[in-house]
């Protein structure tokens, strides 16, 4: 068990280091001259004076050789220091920390919507004998992942806020303001959950022990809820990391549409002014979340499913 655990942790650290390196390469190497990029701030403006560029370079340590920069920055990052924002001069970790709570709020409520929507669709679709209902339900996920998230949000605002006056359209005040963003964020993720769950449910339903339970006279609903769902959830857990990443990424669009504060809005405004340190901080943070969630899933997995032996690592 200890070996399994160590191996998992080592793998997670490796992925994280690689994510840092990839983002460093993309953000600091790709532009050729990150300082000129940042000074231009997006679209192609006229050139900035060389003296100004040199001053900026010195200020952010970009006059050092690349490998030195990489080393210094990585060392600092290991201590939780992702540098300061080019645009606001703020400490990147502080900026992300401040933006995190409102994003967690919508991500968690989005996750709730996703789980409820996803498992309801999967359960009813595998349970029902009504052919058309089954077809409609199984069609829902592919519909949900085909709609542009920003557009769904705007249409929901139009319908529920402007036409019906039921829910607030923007802002982050009160639980009502969470409803529309949570639905917008949760739909595509719920679709993913529904697909995975429905697939593993129909596999589980063909297993011999389910047939045995049926033969023993357990009702169809009982088979579904007690035997199938429990076992189907385990493989579905493996996509949890992806689900959480989805929610985090979805916040970029959803926070923009609903004018909410958070990590997504921070991302959009930082990309807008090409604030490289903040963007890198957010990318690495997203990778950290992904890695942590997967690590937890990996550790919980053997406990839930005794068929997995800890020696077998893939």
């Amino acid at each position: 068990m200890a070996v399994y655990l160590l191996r998992r942790v080592a793998l997670a650290v490796g992925v994280l280091w690689a994510a840092y390196t990839v983002s460093f390469v993309v953000l600091y190497l790709l532009p050729g001259d990150p300082v000129a990029t940042m000074a231009a701030g997006g679209s192609d403006g006229e050139p900035v004076s060389p003296a100004q560029l040199d001053a900026l370079r010195a200020r952010y340590g970009l006059d050092q050789p690349l490998i030195t920069q990489y080393g210094t920055k990585l060392w600092a990052a290991l201590h939780g220091d992702f540098g300061t924002s080019f645009a606001t001069g703020r400490d990147v970790r502080g900026a992300i920390g401040d933006a995190l709570p409102p994003t967690l709020q919508i991500a968690l409520s989005g996750l709730l919507v996703a789980i409820v929507f996803g498992s309801a669709v999967a359960l009813v679709a595998t349970y029902t004998r009504v052919r058309w209902l089954r077809q409609v339900l199984m069609g829902l996920p592919s519909l949900a992942v085909s709609l542009p998230v920003f557009w769904v949000g705007l249409m929901l605002v139009q319908l529920f806020s402007f036409r019906l006056g039921l829910l607030p359209s923007v802002g982050a005040r009160g639980p009502e303001a969470l409803v529309l963003p949570a639905i917008t964020l949760g739909l595509p993720t719920g679709a993913l959950i529904a697909q995975v769950l429905a697939k593993s449910m129909s596999q589980v339903l063909d297993e011999p022990y389910v047939t045995t339970a049926r033969a023993k006279g357990v009702g169809e609903a009982g088979v579904h809820l007690r035997h199938a769902l429990g076992n189907a959830v385990i493989p579905a857990l493996t996509v949890l990391g992806y689900v959480v990443g989805n929610l985090l990424a979805g916040s970029v669009v959803v926070e923009t549409v609903f004018t909410r504060p958070g990590l997504g809005r921070l991302t959009v405004s930082s990309v807008g002014v090409q604030d490289i340190p903040v963007v890198q901080g957010i990318v690495v943070f997203a990778a950290l979340v992904f890695v942590l969630v997967n690590l937890v899933v990996d550790l919980v997995y053997p406990v839930l499913d005794p068929r997995i032996t800890t020696g077998a690592a893939v």
């Binding site: 994510a19 532009p31 085909s146 139009q158 697939k199 963007v279």
Partner: protein, 303 residues
């Protein structure tokens, strides 16, 4: 069953069952296609719609002869009706014309994105599968890392580095979706490489690039193309999201995403400005996804 478990949004790994070439006369094949389509009205609608979108992308003037950037301010904000099928915008520009002409920009970006993903991902997968050993290990770990960063954030990081514009957005989306192509290509390469005829070819001393060209590439092409169609739908969504956020072409270019963004100011009064371009995106993605499902197994299973 660990960190590298990851599904494309469709939930199925494409290429599991590929159309196996059935020897048949053209006439028989056509009859089979007819029967196949007759039972699938949704697929027919999808094919027709995608065909129209393609026409819009390459020769937009056939579907909408007007100038998408030229407005008649006197006719502004007219609701959909006889004169303007999808209404007019805040400068009196025809929304239908703008959506049709927008297709070319948006699809151009999507095609570039998928091409970048296919070429880069394909090469990585090919190299990993063909060379094997530590090259395989290194490349696939790299792909794992790409999967650890949500695609839109990776795209946004690339845009931060590259700057704004349609082509840059397209490249960013393409790079961010390299991972799936790499995996499918690698799996196919491994499968083909281990097959008897390749082993046989190698044993008689066929050079590696000949093996690659004669056996590996043609066999891997099928599943990779199926994936390409599926990724096409995802790429439309990603490209339009980024253009909605304002990283695409500057005004007055009518990209689908930026058309929706423009419409936000008129959400309360002119619903069609937001609704119509968004509907075009949704319908295109749905149709493309439907076609990709048909290619991915449905056709092969049909008899």
């Amino acid at each position: 069953m660990t960190t590298d478990v990851l599904l494309p949004a469709e939930g199925t790994v494409p290429g599991a069952a590929v159309a196996v070439p059935v020897p048949a006369t053209p006439r028989e094949r056509l009859a089979r296609l007819g029967r196949f389509l007759r039972g699938r009205p949704g697929l027919v609608v999808s094919i027709v719609f995608v065909a129209l979108v393609l026409v819009a992308a390459f020769v937009p003037s056939v579907l909408a002869p007007g100038d998408p950037t030229l407005g008649v301010p006197a006719d502004k904000l007219q609701a959909p009706g006889l004169g303007h099928v999808l209404g007019t915008d805040y400068l009196g520009r025809d929304v239908y014309t703008r959506v049709v002409h927008g297709a070319s920009l948006s699809l151009q970006a999507t095609v570039i994105a998928v091409a970048v993903a296919l070429v880069v991902g394909g090469l990585i997968g090919l190299l990993a599968g063909f060379v094997g050993r530590w090259v395989d290990e290194t490349l696939m770990r790299f792909v794992d890392v790409l999967l650890a960063i949500p695609a839109i954030l990776l795209s946004l990081a690339l845009i931060t580095a590259l700057g704004f514009g349609t082509v840059k957005v397209a490249i960013a989306v393409g790079i961010a979706s390299v991972a799936n192509f790499a995996r499918v290509m690698r799996a196919e390469t491994l499968r083909v490489r281990r097959s008897t005829y390749v082993e046989a070819a190698r044993s008689v001393g066929t050079r590696w690039y000949v093996t690659l060209r004669r056996h590996v590439l043609p066999n891997a092409a099928g599943p990779v193309l199926v994936l390409a169609v599926l990724e096409f739908g995802l790429a439309i969504l990603a490209v339009s999201s980024l253009s909605f956020l304002g990283y695409g072409a500057p005004p007055p270019a009518p990209e689908w995403g930026s058309l929706v963004a423009e419409g936000r100011n008129y959400l309360a009064t002119a619903w069609w400005l937001c609704a119509m371009p968004g509907f075009a995106i949704a319908a295109t993605v749905l149709s493309v996804n439907r076609i990709s499902r048909a290619l991915d197994g449905e056709w092969a299973r049909f008899s």
